[in-house]
Symmetry: C2
Subunit: 822 residues, 2 copies
Amino acid sequence: MESEQLFNRKGYYRNSYNSIASASSDEELLDGAGVVMDFHTSEDDNLLDGDATSPGSNYAMSNGGGVMSSTTHLLDFLEEPIPGVGTYDDFHTIDWVREKCKDRERHRKINAKKKESAWEFTKSLYDAWSGWLVVTLTGLASGALAGLIDIAADWLNDIKEGVCLNAMWFNHEQCCWGSNETTFAERDKCPQWKSWAGLILGQEEGPGSYIMNYFMYIYWALSFAFLAVLLVKVFAPYACGSGIPEIKTILSGFIIRGYLGKWTLLIKTVTLVLAVASGLSLGKEGPLVHVACCCGNIFSYLFPKYSKNEAKKREVLSAASAAGVSVAFGAPIGGVLFSLEEVSYYFPLKTLWRSFFAALVAAFVLRSINPFGNSRLVLFYVEYHTPWYLFELIPFILLGVFGGLWGAFFIKANIAWCRRRKSTRFGKYPILEVIFVAAITAVVAFPNPYTRQNTSELIKELFTDCGPLESSQLCQYRSQMNGSKAFVDASPNKPAGPGVYAAIWQLCLALIFKIIMTIFTFGLKVPAGLFIPSMAIGAIAGRIVGIAVEQLAYYHHDWLVFREWCEVGTDCITPGLYAMVGAAACLGGVTRMTVSLVVIVFELTGGLEYIVPLMAAVMTSKWVGDAFGREGIYESHIRLNGYPFLDAKEEFTHTTLAREVMRPRRSDPPLAVLTQDDLTVEELQGIINETSYNGFPVIVSKESQRLVGFALRRDITIAIENARRKQEGILLTSRVYFTQHAPTLPADSPRPLKLRSILDMSPFTVTDHTPMEIVVDIFRKLGLRQCLVTHNGRLLGIITKKDILRHMAQMANQDPDNIMFN
Amino acid sequence: MESEQLFNRKGYYRNSYNSIASASSDEELLDGAGVVMDFHTSEDDNLLDGDATSPGSNYAMSNGGGVMSSTTHLLDFLEEPIPGVGTYDDFHTIDWVREKCKDRERHRKINAKKKESAWEFTKSLYDAWSGWLVVTLTGLASGALAGLIDIAADWLNDIKEGVCLNAMWFNHEQCCWGSNETTFAERDKCPQWKSWAGLILGQEEGPGSYIMNYFMYIYWALSFAFLAVLLVKVFAPYACGSGIPEIKTILSGFIIRGYLGKWTLLIKTVTLVLAVASGLSLGKEGPLVHVACCCGNIFSYLFPKYSKNEAKKREVLSAASAAGVSVAFGAPIGGVLFSLEEVSYYFPLKTLWRSFFAALVAAFVLRSINPFGNSRLVLFYVEYHTPWYLFELIPFILLGVFGGLWGAFFIKANIAWCRRRKSTRFGKYPILEVIFVAAITAVVAFPNPYTRQNTSELIKELFTDCGPLESSQLCQYRSQMNGSKAFVDASPNKPAGPGVYAAIWQLCLALIFKIIMTIFTFGLKVPAGLFIPSMAIGAIAGRIVGIAVEQLAYYHHDWLVFREWCEVGTDCITPGLYAMVGAAACLGGVTRMTVSLVVIVFELTGGLEYIVPLMAAVMTSKWVGDAFGREGIYESHIRLNGYPFLDAKEEFTHTTLAREVMRPRRSDPPLAVLTQDDLTVEELQGIINETSYNGFPVIVSKESQRLVGFALRRDITIAIENARRKQEGILLTSRVYFTQHAPTLPADSPRPLKLRSILDMSPFTVTDHTPMEIVVDIFRKLGLRQCLVTHNGRLLGIITKKDILRHMAQMANQDPDNIMFN
């Protein structure tokens, strides 16, 4: 008993040193590129050298640590904590079961200790509260960063057009706040704000100043784009793109070191501002999710509960992504549902609650910063006051069809372009590519007011209904007011004036421009979100349809469909609502989100009233999109990059059996196995050197093939190394045994080596007749890395996650070699 | 090929006749009490007679049907569809894996057929759309029924007080709509509405008429209560209670026949109205979930996809419960989250989307019915206009503590009382009990205006802020207005008048009354929801605290905490907000809901503003409640009734191993197993007769103990029966074999019987060293019924869901024999 306590205190149990070990090596998680390894087919034979940490699957330690080792066998030969045990290599898949067992073990230990002293009790309280602390911190940081990005992007965006003479750091709107020009039409013009032409040439009007402004616009756009891509290229290559495909993969249990690190956070924040300001057809909403996840990852390092456990860390990341969407769209509930529906893999109820909390905290911080000066979280918050009518469902569904078509087209075109970029020399000059795209965008965008302005502002203008105070070109209807302004809210439908017709032409051009540029922009080496460009495309299409329906109703109010509810002089059609429905439909077509998208847009409008049009459009868009290909843009990019992502949404519907998928195949060499008590150290090392597998099943004997357990390559090498260093009498001819008691040996044989403690005695097994649909279900739901296949109690083969992904790709007639990591 | 097609058309494959068979027996699902059976320890040896359908676990059929049987072995001896195969017995647990496989098989079959003809294609379209159709129908029906119940309960409730002379079917409010009395104080008094005293005695005022009204109130309350309990007792015993514990259990994969049937629906709808009108301390919100689930279940019978598959049917039920909460609280998003957080077990994303749709449809139908005349879905929708201040978090958190204490106290007291009712002769007289409780409620409730009125109306009054138009006693502040009514919305804080003090006393009495009566009411044999009484208790406590803080701020506005933000003449404290926070806290304490509760209340207030107070209170309430016992009221009632519910929220934190939980225990007789090829029919029947297990592992031989598969008792008996009837030469001495090929037998032996087709060749196995936390995880996530335990490839024992539940009860120091069903 005495000695057991001693061991216990010094942390000689397997579990104890696991925790210590992982602490030291987890701190390196933020840097380092790491070696790409492959579980079952890796060519890398250097594993034995120990310079690469190998992925482990030893959840058996919870036997070993919890019950078995405390009563029977202690790890008598591994006397020092071994760095790297319990952590994973870069680009490897984690073992959810093991991670969860590790956490429960940690929890048990803290619970057992907490009555010992006040200090331990405090520590246990800290541990219990750390989940809430980390999501609070994440929410605070995400909200603050989102506010900062909003303000900075606004300011930098206006720099392209001019400068505030009073105070350089004011954007156009802030500059003119103090101005005397109070009419709405002129509110953007004030003497303090000088366009570049006004500043350099001294005159605001005329063709010369137009060209000057044009030139300065292009100059700034190119400068911002160049700076953004340079920073990304030099400091943090992971900062490019939207980040959501990678976050989905990471949340499903994959390790990409540095993807959520401090450098990525810093560079992504800065370059996001630059990229948005450069006028490229991209948004900041997707990257905000990445930024929030970086915050979550960084804060999780303050809490050992999260930093040392990859599964627990993913709970924080799920909450962080909810916070990210919450600040991106001002929709806390939508953010939680986005995290649940779109990005998360393992989403227990506790995470739901914490995600909600993080989303709320982030939203409140952003609202206190108030970046848009409208006490709303987003620029394009709207409130409509007129109801919709049943007949309008037809145009709404048409918008849904448009959204689905756009989504399918965009995904196909963008993936084709990205594949071309990957495979040809286009991809070798990312800086040039960005500058080229930015130059075209700027040159084409400037002449058209709808493409020149900030995309968020464009969306806001398209969403907003025409009231009497609205000065936009889109609202230049021919006045029919009889002098009375009784209904300020509900301005009746009117015939369109020349301004509206001009606006429609410009909007059509803007639509074509946005569609083309977005395809080439998403995938550039700058931070680039898809939400805003997609919404803009949908909003433009929607507004055009809305105005068309409105004019139709005005000129043909005697048609049957309009007669009942759309009299002359009533306000029956709201073109802004069409814009919103179109935006939702296009976003739905691209991302294939459903509930979360409707809830996000619902939170933007603040009324249950418009959920039915939204649902009709989003559902139509999803079905139309799915008809052309079931994958959303994020899944397509995951597949493009070959990440091992086992989608929980996709059903496996084939009738194959486990034996058809398992290795070894009929033509392969037999499975490399270890026998439990008749190998020597030399033979064992031989097997390890000859194969590249990351783990070996242990069987009773070659004759019986009965499965005993599973041992990881890395654990075996470490154990042998240690034993030869620390234990006397371990020679190359020493017998290795995994059993409880040493085998009976000849008298002159050297001291045997006991390796039972590194044996996972509860490997997952299925029979060879198990349908693959069940196997896939098990892998998904339990988060396995590998599973052994037996027949009548005899070991037959092994199935890894990669085998399953390859098999699924094969069944879907895709290239199975696309799956690159394990 | 010819014969295979023939077989195929006639449905001779195992899967085909399964579907046909289950069709015929599923129609019986709505009636019949069924025999309570126990998987592993049942004493019922009559199973062989075939008069009880036995639960099946033959998901192997998807091998058998999908790949194996279509290529190799046909079921050559089972020529007729056997009724009952593929269905479950009453009070038995379903096998999720099998059900899901069955559905995928069905889906594959439809997909394969759909190109054959236009009719098949139409059928496949119908199949694809049936999910949306069934949730639409469910939403429509739930919304309509909720509206009906609301209107009927309102009318019946007013009948207790008087009658409308113009039109009997008008309630008090509708009766007085046409009245000339337009002042708000007098809006309830109109000549058309006669109190009973006015009608019978001819005078409205005076002690005589008070006593007359009192008498009539009690008379009607008792009549309604008697009628309600009588209907429940005679026609549908399952209609009593809130139904949520049973729905949780059903959704987790348990069969309770008739619980969601048409009789339950009809009687529950009628008696719910009566129970609410009787004035008992109960609400209609919980039972509305039950009503919605009944609708979902009944409509699922229209669609073979759902009626024939217990797992798919539960998807509809999840959506239905979302619709139920949606109409109960007018909170579609809250309803979906309630379904996700509180009741559902298996909640794939498709269900999320459909739940949302069902919830929306139901909400829209209810709003078109407009039962409250305020175009809101609930009576107590409110909008506040004043912000809250940081200091107010202290009283909010105190309300949370109160809510947690109330929840813990209520659960303990209610469970103790229900246990006493179950175990003593109290439970023998449910009708008397209801009448007794109703009488006490009516007698005590009448004199106090706050208990006399409808609980929903009480909540509405407590939630509503005092505006200048408010006539309630709670708003009788001493006026300090200076004649100006500049701020209509924000009436400044004022000193309380005598009306407020009187109201506070009455509220205190009402609080005590509600607390006591609710404990005795929940569990009566009438439909009874908990939401409204809990919210009422919280709202009373909250309003009292709110008024106290308000007065404190008025009289001590120079205190440091008030000085900054609560000047005289400003409106800084909203007592209605306190009522709402208190209501949420109390409901949270009782149910331990978190996110869904906050979202439901958020949807009631229509503003993000008040989410932080709500969250603070709900979180506090949950933590305080959890300190006294982690179970909410629904889990407690599940445990009280001994349902086999494996809670996904509760973590299993013990360190036991599978071998400590599995049967047989050390002292038990050895596991009953079948050998694969050396039993005779007689020996097999002997094993079946001697044991009561519902299934038997099949092993290679007694010596090797290597596992081949798992065969269900029911399948074996049916197969033997059929073979002896249909196949020539099968005698009692015939050899039974489960292998692919017949064993070599002596020349004179009778024809052997091949039973491979009923063998599940992919049973789930774990090793004896597997920690129970992993086993519990597997059972939860995959929805298993049983799992075999092996050691080094040899079969060792079996773990059933019931074994796990017993073990968990044992580890929690509870009575393991409490778990009654399997």
